[in-house]
Subunit: 307 residues, 2 copies
């Protein structure tokens, strides 16, 4: 069979669909605007049908907010510590349009926070399979709307923590006095660096203690209105790194692998240098690879097509 | 003259108008919904006319965002350290409808932050005049959308810092996954206390490192949806207190006087106890008293009517 698997990375604001070839490579990708919080008429079923339209019959594996409460079907969390190969045994099936069967990957819950993730567990599975020895220990950072700091040991997620940096940035940019009504700038790397430096200088108090300086600097003319967003980005990412160090999510000198969108990872790499954190970027589309790994372990693939 | 002064406390989202009697007491108060960012047709002039409609001819003194850039007339900031009696010498006049004259109190700027305030300088003047000896040192906290932590010495504002706690709470409540779409609760003092406790337990990392736990606790059913806002309030106010201690805006054991709306002050008093801060509430409407003080020092009052 040339298409042993279809995969869905289905978050709250977007949907990505993957058609895999028999070697586990992504043969085709579709990006659709229908996250679990913004669906077309017809809801999840309609979005699903459009996402896989015309693709061969094959098992479909999905991860992300599609499995949340308020998603298509709730896929209960697995508690940490959680060996990643346990994901494959805990899929939630959903009857989908076109006679297709959808399987939803569970999210993870860290009882210590408490904290939760959905979708990132599949990214972690993809990264671990590709680049971390089975018995190794790793610290992963998945920056984004809800950044995840993940501890992995011997193929298990030992624990994790969320920093809401991306969402904080978005709501401050769109709705607060710091961002609302300001012009879109062309991108100002210097303003970003100034934000990181302000977070550094703030020491134990943290970047939020300097938040209002974004407005004061703009009023006095030393921060252009179009650059406030970049300053804010640097300040908030810097504060996330400070928190991560202060809360022992990571320690100075312990290498952290960053997984995510290139431009965002670049910001974290730049800020990490200012905080003395040893950070490197993990290559490649981790989610697609993770979906393949979980499907394989779950026996969803035809025998012949397993890599 | 029975009405020696009219006063306006004119912020970004609301306008309060005061008619003073000859002893400097507030004889009448009007609350209007026209802040500098939400004006009626006719703009500042129309809002002004309605605020003082039917009141006797008298000098009008205003403080707050009405004097900001984008306000009615920009009243330039005075830099700290700034003796409070300098405010009276730096009023910005505006010709107003009905042949009236409006005078706008300048805001303050702390070059060290940089940081800025508008309106709070008048509150501070009111509190200082009423309850702090001229040569005393005081720490003041004015909680709100943009909380101000103010150091006063010998009748001068030595410096200050802003924490954007109120605005952070509002944007997270209205627009983030933590608050958007959740029901309004009846008020949950226990959830507030849990938020404060979470901020305390987070230690040096700070309350923001526990922000996402508000969602995780709700998902697992131990925090009712209608109580998330109170938990969030406790977490953010707790984190403001942590920041204030870490940044030396105040020190343990140094008494802090809190000035503001009763229910909000009560929240800060409760949270302060958990952080070992010695906090007490200042009584009375500080802004009206401050307007009277500044008007008096500026010679706006008729000689006979000065208290």
């Amino acid at each position: 069979m040339n298409t042993p698997l279809l995969g869905l990375d289905w978050g709250s604001t977007r949907l990505r669909a993957y058609r895999f070839d028999r070697d586990g490579r992504v043969a085709e990708t579709r990006a659709l605007p229908w996250g679990s919080r913004q669906l077309p008429d017809g809801g999840f079923a309609e979005a699903f049908a459009r996402a896989v339209d015309g693709w061969p019959q094959a098992p479909v594996l999905a991860c992300g907010m599609v499995g949340s409460r308020g998603g298509w079907r709730e896929a209960p969390y697995l508690d940490t510590p959680c060996p990643l190969d346990r994901l494959a045994g805990a899929l939630t099936p959903v009857d989908a349009p076109g006679g297709r069967r959808l399987h939803v990957v569970p999210g993870l819950r860290d009882p210590a926070g408490p904290d939760v993730m959905r979708g990132e567990e599949t990214q972690v599975a993809g990264v671990i399979a590709r680049s971390i020895a089975g018995d190794g220990e790793a610290r992963l950072l998945l920056p984004g709307t809800h950044s995840k700091w993940v501890r992995v040991r011997e193929g298990a997620v030992v624990g994790f923590h969320t920093a809401m940096t991306g969402e904080l940035f978005a709501v401050l940019r769109a709705h607060s006095i710091l961002g609302a009504g300001l012009p879109e700038g062309p991108g100002d790397a210097d303003a970003f660096a100034r934000g990181v430096a302000a977070a550094c200088e703030s020491g134990a108090a943290g970047g939020l203690s300097r938040l209002f300086s974004a407005r004061a600097l703009m009023l006095e003319g030393t921060l252009p209105p179009g650059s406030v967003a970049d300053f804010l980005s640097g300040l908030l990412i810097g504060d996330e790194l400070r928190m991560a160090l202060a809360a022992d999510w990571v320690a100075p000198g312990v290498p952290v692998k960053v997984i995510g969108e290139d431009a965002l990872c670049a910001r974290y790499l730049q800020a990490a240098a200012a905080f003395g954190l040893a950070v490197s970027a993990a290559a490649g589309p981790a989610t697609a690879h993770g979906l393949w790994q979980v499907a394989s372990a779950a026996g969803l693939l035809d025998g012949d097509s397993r890599p």
